[in-house]
Every structure is written in structure tokens, then in C-alpha cells.
Subunit: 209 residues, 2 copies
DNA sequence: AAACCGTACGACCGATCGGTCTTCTTAATA
DNA sequence: TATTAAGAAGACCGATCGGTCGTACGGTTT
């Protein structure tokens, strides 16, 4: 029988380390501004060594997107799913997103924000994949809204699509304002909290402040 | 007496043409991705000719910011200021912003959106200037909210800062969603409209749909 | 032990980057 | 008419870009 192949294990370790650094770097410089030379220097590996794992910069960009998506699922979505279904889970998701920004997990703030805005004026497989990940995120928000409606915690005439849009909008703007204007993300938290409490059939499901 | 100097006039024409193209290009590639070579090619001028007007790329970036700010003031802020002070002017500002995006005035959608997100992870005079322009924009929104409160069109306990945040957030997210997900900006319009009508002392100041 | 394969390196490539310098044209001024 | 100054072009610079190629190390399989 064959145990774990030491070569593959080492490769996997390297790959993870590179993608960690790539996501961090891209959160500052964007996926386009991400430079293979700088990435290699930071990790003390050779630039050509990167091509042993990804055949082109575009492939590394796509791998970085998947890596960032995993990180987002683990650090933002995961904790929220521990909360009870409905309004509380929806607000918890918004809060853990703001926490992700406040804790400065990534030096640039958010991998997806900069990569997605960078993609607004372009076409290609990278923008396509980013659009799909964004759609997935919006769909998640809409699903949490729908569940809250089904549980009777939000009025039956709620439009999930629009409320999801509002929650996401507050998150995006929170990042921009907190980073560029050094404002606390409290506006974003209060805005969504007030909005949800205003709609809720039982506001006591949510905190007061 | 001296009339208009033909040399200076020509320079000014060139400068305007270059900045027009620079703002358009930067709306797609960002201020960092803006390349002097590509810019020169597109305008059929020489790259070194650009240095006759700006001593460095950074100076051109700063000039492009001022140019984009002028464009924004003329095409977005100006029309809104024609509306009567208060709620109607506030909503008109939001609408003309969405129109700016929908009309695809800039190929990338919005110069400031991509430039500002690009700046979230950096420091320097360019991010500083972009932060100042953003602060100016937020301050404008807050002022319009305050005026609506003073006119009694919004409740006295309205927090201008937070409402301004909500309106801006809807605008930012509208750009991202419409560009990357091909969604209509109607969610952004409806969200702000419903929010303002909900707060308004006289909802009839605003349209129904 | 030999063959094999995943990993990683250094040297090198053409293209493009921001930027400099010299030259030429054109229009205003003395 | 001679001089001056602004605008613009072309040749050129070192640095960096993404990417290729040949080679070497080390763990796996036969």
C-alpha cells in the first residue's frame, strides 16, 4: 500500500503558502496588479518555480479566487450558519462580514471587493469566475432572507432580492468607507440592524444597538 | 493687446483630450493599470509628448482625478441641484448617479469606484486625494439629508450620516451588480425610493415606483 | 540499483513599463 | 526679421513584466 507521497505533500504545502500570499497580495494590488516576481520574492522562492504549479498567471489567478472563496466560506459564512435559521442568521452573516474587515484578515481589506471592481470593465475567464462567486454570495443572502420570511420573522411581502441587495450594499460600502475614510463600520452595522428591526415581526430577535 | 495664445490653446486642447481618454481608460484598468504607452497609442500621440504636460505618471493620475471630479460635478451633481431642495433633490442625486452608470458614459462604469477600491490597500498622494473626493461626496449627501430634515420633509431624529451612508451604499452596489451580474440598477433605485418614502413626512414628494 | 516523477532553480527571452534627452515645428514677441 | 517659448516627436534607458528551457535534487516505484 502507498502512504502519503512526500512529494505531493510538499507540493501541496507550497501551493497553499503561495495562494495565501497571493490572496493577501491581490487584496492590495488586485488580481491584475498581482506580480509573479513580487509574489516569488515575498515567499523566497524562484519565479519559475511557480510555473511548476500553475501554467500561467491566469491559472494562478483562478486558483487564488478558489482559495479566497474557501477562506470566505470558513471565516464569514461558516460562523453565521451556527446561528439559528432566520433573521438572526441573516444579521450574523452581515456582522461576521464586517468583522472580517475590521480584523484586517487581509492587508487590503477584501480580496473580492477589489478583484470584482477591477473586473467591472473587463471580460475573460477571471471576471466570469468572479461574477459567479458574487452571484453565489447574493444567492446565499437571498436564501437567508427567504428562510426568515418562511419562518414568519419577516413579512410575507418582503422582496428577498431587494433586501439581499441592501444588506450586501451596506457591506461593500462599509469596506470602502472604513478603509478610505477611516470610518468605523458601525454605520453599516446600524443601518442593517435598524432596517431589519424595522421589518421584523419580532424585533427582539435582534440586538438593540 | 494679446489675444488667446494659439500655442497655449493647443496645449489646453491636447490636455483635455488626454484627460478624457485617461479617465475613460482608468475606469477600466484603474489608475494603477493606466499605462502611458497605451494612452499615447489610443490618442495617436507620442508617449514622450505626455511628459510635456505632466512631469510624471503620478501627476497625470492626479490631473485625471480632478478631470473625473469635474465630469461628475457636471453630469451627476449639477442636474440634481436643479431640483428643489430637500427630499426631491436627494433622490434626484441618487437617480442621476444611476443614470450615469446606465448610460455607460465611461467604458468601465465609474472612474472613482475602481480607483477608490484600488486605493483601499495603499498609501500615497493619489489615495489621499481620492479619499478627499470621496469625503466631499459623502458630505454632499449628508448636507442634502440635513436640508430635507430642516425643511421638515424628513423626521427630526434622522441621522444624516447614516442615511447618507445608505444612499451611497446603494449606488456603489448598483454599479457592481449591474456590471458584473448584468442586473438592472432598478434594485438600487427601488431600495432608496422605498427607504425615503418610508421616512418621508410627505411621501408624495417622491414618485410611486 | 535504476528508472521515474514532482518539485524547484537559474539563466534567459521579447515585450512593456515609466522616464530622459535631443531635436524639430510652430506661433508669439521684440 | 530674429528671438523666444510651448508643444510634440523619436531614439533610447534601466527595470520589470509574464513566460520558456535545461538542469538538478529527492522521494517513489520497479
Amino acid at each position: 500500500m502507498t502512504g502519503t507521497d512526500g512529494r505531493l505533500a510538499r507540493g501541496e504545502r507550497t501551493r497553499t503558502a503561495v495562494l495565501d500570499a497571493a490572496v493577501a497580495l491581490a487584496s492590495q494590488a488586485g488580481l491584475d496588479g498581482l506580480s509573479l516576481g513580487q509574489l516569488a520574492d515575498r515567499l523566497h522562492v524562484s519565479k519559475s518555480g511557480l510555473f511548476a504549479h500553475w501554467s500561467s498567471k491566469e491559472e494562478l489567478q483562478l486558483a487564488a479566487i478558489e482559495h479566497a472563496r474557501d477562506q470566505w466560506a470558513r471565516r464569514v459564512v461558516g460562523p453565521a450558519l451556527d446561528r439559528p435559521r432566520g433573521l438572526r442568521r441573516l444579521f450574523a452573516l452581515h456582522e461576521s462580514r464586517l468583522a472580517f474587515y475590521s480584523e484586517r484578515v487581509l492587508p487590503g481589506g477584501c480580496f473580492f471587493a477589489i478583484a470584482e471592481f477591477e473586473s467591472t470593465g473587463r471580460t475573460g475567464v477571471v471576471p466570469d469566475r468572479l461574477a459567479a462567486v458574487l452571484a453565489e454570495w447574493i444567492t446565499l443572502l437571498e436564501r437567508l432572507v427567504t428562510e426568515a420570511v418562511e419562518l414568519g420573522e419577516l413579512p410575507a411581502d418582503t422582496v428577498p432580492r431587494r433586501l439581499a441587495f441592501e444588506v450586501d450594499a451596506a457591506g461593500v460600502a462599509a469596506l470602502l468607507h472604513s478603509r478610505l475614510l477611516a470610518r468605523s463600520p458601525d454605520d453599516a452595522r446600524q443601518a442593517v440592524l435598524a432596517r431589519l428591526r424595522g421589518l421584523a415581526t419580532d424585533p427582539d430577535l435582534l440586538p438593540y444597538d
